[in-house]
């Protein structure tokens, strides 16, 4: 117990959780004993209101989904994604040359893709100046340092006619030790940065959990336009007070001389790059095109039945 409290105190800069201690004393006086106290405090530094403390610097665990985070996914690789035919057509006609025009150069990752990274996090809280209650937490994401606000004060989501943003509009509430966040008003974005689109009608549900010095985020994207089933992903970070966020100033410039209105894309059925990924991985093109069935363990039987796939 003492260890957990000490770590929490470090993360909070030495603050003492009076209500948490009061709760612990209450448990002790009720005869719950040391085991219950240890369970209560285990690995969960708490804020004054009793919720788990998520604040601090968090270091991304870079080995997760490394192909998303380093060289990036291959063109035409939609494996494991519950995409529909509309999403496939859009991705199959996508061309990375889109980033050669100034108006596309400074796009950050949207809130639902941002955790893929580079995504060290700096999490802080916004306090009501009078009650000192936490009204929101702010999450700064490493890549292009967008600032995301998650409101915890019960405010409603804005009108459907309000602007959509990269971070969307997020509200959260605690259920036990889990912060549940609902996000709407997202700009159109992507669920894989090889042209797999996510529409502006999507809704993001997240579960933020802290276990000792590990922060875990479970994210669920519901997109009625491009997904046949919810897309669930998770990421983890480790607490690191030394995490330092650096400013990122993107200046959009003409890098390739294009005619006004140039839009990079392939006509349907003409994209030669779609063959590279399935050829390299020795997969039929239909497998590369993804689908909800690929999210489930039973799909391994389908892969094993593919001619030559297991041997390769």
């Amino acid at each position: 117990m003492g260890g957990a409290l000490a770590k929490g105190a470090d993360a909070r800069g030495g603050c003492v959780h009076k209500s948490a201690i009061a709760a612990a004393l209450l448990l002790a006086s009720a005869g719950a004993g040391n085991a219950a106290l240890a369970q209560y405090f285990e690995g969960k530094p708490r804020l004054a209101q009793g919720e788990v403390d998520l604040t601090g610097g968090w270091l991304q665990k870079f080995h997760q989904d490394s192909h998303e985070r380093k060289e990036g996914p291959a063109i035409g690789d939609y494996t494991g994604l519950p995409v529909n035919d509309d999403a496939r057509l859009r991705a199959n006609t996508w061309d990375p040359d889109k980033w050669t025009v100034p108006e596309h150069q400074c796009e950050p990752h949207p809130a639902d893709y941002g955790p893929h990274g580079p995504a060290n996090l700096q999490i802080s809280k916004i306090l009501d100046p009078h009650s000192l209650k936490t009204v929101a937490i702010q999450v700064i994401v490493g890549w292009m340092v967008p600032v995301r606000t998650i409101w915890l004060d019960g405010r409603p989501h804005p009108s459907a006619n309000a602007a959509h943003t990269w971070m969307g509009f997020s509200t959260g509430h605690w259920e036990g030790d889990t912060l549940i966040v609902e996000t709407t008003h997202l700009k159109e974005g992507w669920i894989r940065r090889n042209g797999v689109a996510r529409s502006d009608k999507a809704r993001l549900t997240e579960y933020w959990m802290r276990h000792d010095d590990v922060l875990t985020l479970v994210s669920i994207v519901n997109d009625p336009v491009y997904l046949t089933e919810p897309l669930m992903r998770s990421w983890s970070w480790t607490l690191d007070p030394g995490v330092h966020m650096t400013p990122y100033t993107c200046e959009a410039k003409v890098e390739v001389d294009r005619p006004q209105g140039f839009v990079a894309h392939w006509l349907p059925g003409t994209n030669p790059n779609l063959k590279e990924f399935p050829e390299k991985m020795h997969l039929p093109e239909s497998v590369a095109q993804g689908g909800a069935d690929q999210m489930y363990p039973e799909y391994q039987d389908v892969l094993k039945a593919l001619p030559g796939a297991v041997a390769k």
Partner: protein, 313 residues
């Protein structure tokens, strides 16, 4: 309320419903864009309200039913008089409220303050609303935009900022204007842009698909985003939510991609029916398409086809 009273009210409600009581006009959704500029979202169209010490400018007046609600919303925002109305095209959805709104305004003209607001539009809008062109019967004269411009754009200084009213030839119609509030950094686009719907291409009133794409490209040049391609110049579309440059960009991208696809299918010799069956818009239909209502995806594809298939002027 007792159970019996509740049942009586339910019964009364059923009677009114059975007699077809006229439904009330829907409420406006009032969305703040800047401290001095609001977007009033009606059931079909948006109205822009800009106000300051000089008075109020209103961009588009929606329907007769919605016009009183626009006036009420303006009165809640400011006690200044309505000086100007701008019509971004001649369609009734944007001009039918002109008479009601202008009567509530006051325009400072040469040596007098008149009892109606000035109505500004491109000349082609006046020609259509007055029946000079287009064959439609003329509307009430008080609702005509008689403060017209003929070429390019019209400049004015109002409420301490420069305002440019810019003609976009042959876009949604042949009389389109976009209104650029330069100091506030807000652009009201009219119906050549709607973030959740394919644009209406009114070929009969001089519109063109390529003209809409050209207009969007010029708007992208005008708009300057803040950090991370977000915010900065705010865009009030003809209908739908308030937007910024990125929303314009992905809309332009979508239309350009559809243009290239349809043009390719035309070059392959496909008829309109074959192109519609090929569904060149299918990956965007979930965002912008509609199977019902006044402007369906089928109608949009037909307009694109006819526009691209006709000889260049």
């Amino acid at each position: 309320m007792t159970r019996r009273t509740g049942l009586c009210l339910l019964a009364l409600g059923a009677v009114f419903s059975a007699r077809g009581a006229v439904p009330a006009a829907p409420e406006l959704d009032v969305v703040k864009v800047r401290d001095n500029i609001y977007m009033l979202v009606g059931p079909a169209e948006n109205t822009t309200v800009a106000f300051g010490t000089d008075g109020v400018m209103i961009v588009n007046t929606q329907s007769e039913a919605m016009a009183p609600k626009i006036l009420a919303a303006v009165a809640r925002l400011t006690d200044q008089p309505i000086r100007y109305i701008v019509n971004t095209d001649a369609h009734a959805a944007n001009t039918a409220g002109n008479v009601i709104v202008t009567k509530a305004g006051k325009f400072i003209a040469d040596r007098i303050e008149s009892d109606s607001a000035s109505i500004i539009a491109h000349e082609n809008v006046l020609n259509r609303l007055s029946g000079v062109t287009g064959g439609d019967p003329p509307g009430e004269r008080l609702g005509w935009p008689e403060d017209v411009y003929y070429k390019g754009w019209m400049d004015m200084h109002f409420n301490g900022e420069a305002i440019q009213i810019i003609h976009e030839p042959h876009a949604h119609t042949d009389g389109d204007s976009v209104v650029f509030f330069r100091g506030s950094d807000v652009i009201a686009t009219g119906d050549l842009f709607a973030p959740g719907a394919y644009p209406v291409i009114d070929l009969e009133r001089g519109g063109s698909f390529q003209g809409i794409i050209d207009a969007l490209n010029r708007l992208i040049d005008l708009a300057v985003p803040d950090a991370n391609e977000e915010g900065g110049t705010m865009i009030i579309p003809g209908h739908g939510r308030v937007t910024d440059e990125y929303d314009l960009v992905i809309y332009r991208d979508m239309l350009t991609i559809i243009r290239d696809r349809v043009r390719d299918l035309i070059h392959r010799g496909m008829s309109l029916e074959q192109v519609q069956a090929a569904r060149p818009t299918r990956d965007y239909d979930g965002i912008y398409g509609s199977d019902a209502g006044p402007w369906t995806t089928r109608m949009f594809v037909a307009a694109v086809y006819r526009d691209l298939d006709r000889p260049a002027p």
